[in-house]
């Protein structure tokens, strides 16, 4: 397997997944998360994803299709 693909898998999928697992069961102080922390995490994660996505979409607008030529000269 291409080393670039392996590195990409580790960076983009495996590490975030492991961090998500750890974070799901322990808060910043190593304790199990409380209800308030879990509810806050949902707000933080969704708003963060929306902000990243919205910014990317704004930077990559849909290019309008070129007008069809009529053939008239």
């Amino acid at each position: 397997m291409n080393p670039v693909i392996i590195a990409s898998l580790i960076q983009q999928v495996l590490l975030p997944e492991i961090l998500a697992i750890v974070r799901a069961h322990h808060n910043a102080t190593g304790q199990l998360p409380t209800d308030a922390q879990v509810i806050a995490a949902l707000g933080t994660d969704t708003s963060g994803n929306i902000a990243i996505g919205t910014a990317w979409l704004a930077a990559h607008p849909v290019t309008p299709a070129a007008p069809a030529t009529t053939g008239a000269m």
């Binding site: 990409s8 998500a20 209800d35």
Partner: protein
């Protein structure tokens, strides 16, 4: 038939173990989360995290010319829409997000799986929706 090296095997194994670890007993919120609101938020957050991973993988792949802008736009638009649903209705997102995901995958087509990182992230979303989405 192409043979993969031991490193690829261990990465795949680690991904499988990590997904299994979080999704088998992890289908339930940690014992410290006791209220219905907390459990609902925990489940919705697990979905948001995987969708965010997919979005980040798509954006990074696009930046390195590994994914077309049109395809990336489909994934990012899904992420934005799904995260809005999760944030607005953490106890009733299942049908809407499942519908959005099905429509998104239909638009993406099978070509998306040629990018390994995207394919893995798509599988993670599939897995977490199958575990939590019913």
């Amino acid at each position: 038939m192409k043979r993969y090296g031991p490193l690829a095997f261990y990465i795949g194994l680690a991904l499988l173990v990590s997904l299994t670890t979080v999704l088998t007993p992890g289908c339930h919120a940690p014992v410290s989360v006791t209220t219905p609101q907390g459990k609902v938020a925990y489940t919705a957050d697990q979905i948001a995290i995987r969708i965010g991973e997919l979005q980040n993988a798509a954006i990074q792949a696009n930046a390195s010319n590994g994914l077309s802008t049109d395809t990336t736009r489909i994934i990012v638009q899904f992420s934005v829409d799904a995260n809005r649903v999760l944030a607005a209705t953490p106890s009733g997102w299942q049908a809407t997000v499942a519908q959005l995901w099905t429509a998104t995958k239909n638009r993406l087509g099978p070509g998306i799986f040629t990018n390994t990182a995207i394919a893995a992230a798509v599988s993670a979303v599939d897995t977490v929706l199958a575990a939590f989405g019913s």
